[in-house]
């Protein structure tokens, strides 16, 4: 089966307390590239170097930290209409709305809805292509493996988010039954295996495109993650974060779930970021991997075999 329907996480909109320190972090330390500003709404748009579309991260200055919404690119305007109708028909989501084209620069219309865990999600089909600046004889012609002038950690792409919320079953139903995601890994209660406390969902060949952990809260943000090509680059990320006195949460280490190599750190407003490498190829016919809550330690941090104090209690 070729990749159709929902293609990938296309953007994440993050609230920051002060735009300038946030921008410095996201461009100079994390190493994203600024592509547009919207001074009226105090927003800045950024992309990672290997993303072709106009932006994948939106920073908005606000009084609260956290996530405004996450956007998913679908394969065509026809798919956008179909999935929007499917979401509406499912009656599982709230606050359905069409956001007009151009509200994000270079972006077509977006269909927004709130999933049962309280997170706003969007679907869209069109975004201007800026390219990855690697072509040597014109855009995308005889490309270099990576462009000049990268700054900071310089991940290749925005990869996934981990979100916290209460109605995990309802949100899983939206992603699996309506949007066509597969379940790559799950965490179940050993005493009651019908109760899922963690879900790792994929719309692609990645080990996850989004993950949720059941918590008695609505709409909370654990982290936004960005991809690096190797374990050594994760170590180098640790060097860069220390050099900039960035608040590091944990790592470099390895996740049991997805097998990713990781470092967690915080932006200047306390929103958690991750850069990671590794994982595996997911196919839709792969059986879900199951972890039980009594192995949550190695599932989350494979080397320490225990969750650090902040994993479950620190989020925005």
């Amino acid at each position: 089966m070729s990749l159709t329907g929902v293609l990938r996480p296309g953007h994440v909109a993050i609230r920051v307390l002060e735009l300038e320190p946030a921008l410095k972090h996201y461009t100079e330390v994390l190493g994203l590239i600024e592509t547009a500003r919207d001074p009226k709404n105090k927003r800045v748009f950024l992309k990672a170097w290997d993303e072709h579309d106009h932006h994948s991260v939106v920073l908005r200055e606000a009084d609260e930290a956290g996530m405004d919404y996450m956007g998913w690119k679908v394969d065509s305007p026809a798919t956008l209409k179909k999935l929007a109708a499917d979401v509406e028909k499912s009656k599982l989501c709230q606050d359905l709305a069409w956001i007009p084209a151009g509200e994000h620069p270079g972006t077509g219309e977006r269909f927004r809805f709130t999933v049962p865990t309280g997170h706003a999600m969007e679907l869209y089909a069109e975004k201007d292509r800026l390219g990855n600046n690697c072509g040597t004889d014109g855009p995308d012609i005889n490309p270099l493996p990576w462009p000049d002038d990268l700054k900071g950690i310089a991940p290749s792409r925005f990869d996934h988010c981990l979100l916290y919320g209460d109605d995990l079953d309802g949100t899983c139903k939206v992603f699996r039954d309506v949007l066509g995601f597969g379940l790559s890994e799950q965490v179940l209660l050993k005493a009651d295996p019908n109760t899922m406390i963690g879900a790792f969902l994929s719309c692609s060949n990645k080990a996850h495109d989004i993950a949720f952990i059941r918590q008695p809260v609505k709409g909370k943000f654990h982290h936004a993650s960005f991809e690096l090509g190797s374990w050594e680059k994760v170590l180098r990320a640790g060097d860069i974060l220390s050099r900039h006195h960035t608040s590091i949460d944990i790592g470099p280490t390895r996740h049991g779930i997805t097998r990713g190599e990781t470092i967690y750190f915080f932006d200047p407003s306390g929103n958690r970021n991750e850069v990671f490498s590794g994982g595996y190829i997911y196919y839709p016919d792969k059986p879900p991997l199951t972890w039980y809550d009594d192995s949550l330690g190695p599932a989350i941090f494979y080397h320490d075999r225990k969750i650090n104090e902040s994993f479950l209690s620190v989020f925005t």
Partner: protein, 117 residues
Amino acid sequence: MPHLITIENSGERFTGADSMSVLAAMEQARCRGIPVGCRNGGCGACKVRVTSGRYRTGKMSRAVVSVADEATGCVLACKTYPESDLGVEALGRVLQPAGPRPGASFSFVIPRSEKEA
């Protein structure tokens, strides 16, 4: 000029400079009375009530420190800078092992400030 900071719950005392947050001074002194979270004003783990002394604050997320909180001296230690000797009382999460509790439906530990909200 260094100021003496006292965490009333734990009885820990350490000194902190005007330019250093109460939380950073606590970490530097290797004290543990205030829970450490994001260190950047977003998560609320290090919420304290200032019981005595003068201080100034940086911007804190309204999701974890309301206007009313701030008016009663409830602030985030990571965004609080001493201007005199300070007494503080930690209000953040109570540390508990994560996992299901016997006889209760499954619930992870959340910051106390959210439970109270």
